[in-house]
Symmetry: C2
Subunit: 300 residues, 2 copies
């Protein structure tokens, strides 16, 4: 499963039982936490997401509503006897803040905690199947969006064909990589005879907090799912602009220009009790828009 | 009204919809926040306690479950256009941590924020009616309890007597202070003829996180209400001891020795789903014990 679950969809001030920003990207049983606003650990309990499965945490920027829950979560994992490595990525002073909080508490960590500085756009993490990279967004302070991209998946072997051509096991790896295979008698087995393509690699892009900014387009183009903030409705476009935030219409305009498949909007201002207008405003421009609702899991 | 409302009654790890430590002491319409665990601002909304009425915040120690909600609350007040002074008291590195968090966020505060170091036991704040002082508790790191004491209230004037003796308005202040008054003709009006005593001053003591420690007794003796932590039941007395915490029985023993009027126990470990056993264990030793339950307001 490749999916994102929303833990907090509100902007800075919590209201109407909406919480500050946090999301969990789940891929093959691992959880990748994206931002960690105050109360994230409580939201994880509420939505029954196993804290112990979190291996990486990515913090977009150091406004409190995106990271004030981090120190508490780090602490709690230790009290719960977590044993696995935890890797945290964030803009430079994050490490110092967390280290200071752990030091003054005389904390004894029972798992290996790695606090990494994000030093600019680039790849933050990759394993055999997934790559996480970051890109700049246009906010009042240094801020990063994150791309979660499946790597090119191996081609699928067609079992009847393997038998038909009597292919040895030693051929499988090359065939999965898309290569042809030469039999001992010199016969060339064309890759397309015995394999079929996998589903194309999927991509999720999280645009953090940002003004409307077309320079994001190359990073999110054709993505299966894009999260873009929509702090205000479009009649507050000037307020949004002055505070380095976006409106629902602007999020939809960017999604349309970037030809993404689906748009998720969130980071709603606490001035709005109801969210219906966000949905309708964005859908006028980009019909395949959904509201990022807390507790809901969106497939990528 | 002099009362305390519980916002969080759990120890470090939130569980069973119990939250990390925070309480609001209310006196004459002002709110004094005592500790501010993660999620406190959300609990304030849940229990409809006006954030704008908080004038002072007292942080007992720098374990995260007692202050990780502070930076978020400070931020939120600014975003809500709070204008009044806010005074925060806590052990020394608290100021540095909060200042760092405000600095990296490029925060613009719209109200005067004062971050005060607690430099040892003594008076932290007083006005005409109330005094807040702190005392050491016995925890793994530097930790303080807090006493909220009414000042000696003025004596009450008996209106019939004021008329009977034909006392001028200029006499009232002296009489309220307990002094006699000399009339223009030289007659002495004895204070007790025209006033009656007020109710005795009330006292609330918050014992923060602590081992069982009889040196707390002088600070809490005869208090109307004492909050004492009870992280464990008494069959975990050794665990409590090793972690610088107390059991329900120990809290009750201390309350009994200090001859307090009423005991409130909290800071329950997340290993306990039900809290009934805490109540019964403490009441065996000190019958006038209550569980500190979230959202409940206890009169002092």
């Amino acid at each position: 499963m490749f999916a994102v679950t929303i833990l907090g969809n509100n902007s800075a001030v919590p209201a109407f039982d909406r919480h500050p920003t946090s999301q969990v990207v789940t891929y093959q049983g691992n959880h990748y936490l994206v931002d960690c606003g105050e109360g994230t650990q409580i939201q994880l309990i509420r939505y029954k997401i196993r804290r112990s499965r979190i291996t990486h945490i990515f913090i977009s920027h150091l406004h409190g509503d995106h990271y004030f829950g981090l120190a508490g979560l780090i602490n709690t994992l230790s009290l719960l006897n977590h044993r696995q490595e935890l890797h945290v990525f964030g803009p430079a002073p994050l490490r110092e803040i967390i280290e200071m909080q752990l030091t003054v508490a005389d904390a004894r960590m029972c798992y290996p905690l790695y606090l990494h500085h994000i030093n600019g756009p680039g790849i933050l993490f990759e394993n055999e199947f997934l790559r996480v990279s970051c890109f700049r967004t246009l906010h009042r302070i240094e801020c990063y969006g994150f791309c979660f991209e499946e790597k090119k998946p191996p081609r699928k072997l067609i079992s009847e064909k393997l038998q038909q051509y009597n292919l040895p096991f030693s051929a499988y790896e090359k065939l999965k990589q898309g290569l042809d295979f030469q039999m001992e008698d010199g016969t060339i087995i064309k890759n397309e005879w015995v394999t079929r393509p996998s589903a194309p690699p999927r991509k999720y892009a999280y645009c953090a907090d940002t003004k409307y900014d077309e320079s994001l387009i190359p990073h999110i183009r054709h993505a299966d799912l894009v999260y873009h903030e929509a702090t205000y409705l479009d009649n507050f476009r000037e307020v949004a602009e002055s505070r380095f935030h976006s409106t629902a219409r602007q999020a939809a305009e960017l999604a349309k220009k970037a030809e993404v498949k689906k748009l998720l909007i969130g980071h709603f201002s606490s001035k709005y009790d109801s969210l219906e207008a966000f949905e309708s405003e964005a859908r006028e421009v980009f019909p395949n828009t959904e509201l990022a609702l807390e507790g809901v899991c969106y497939l990528i």
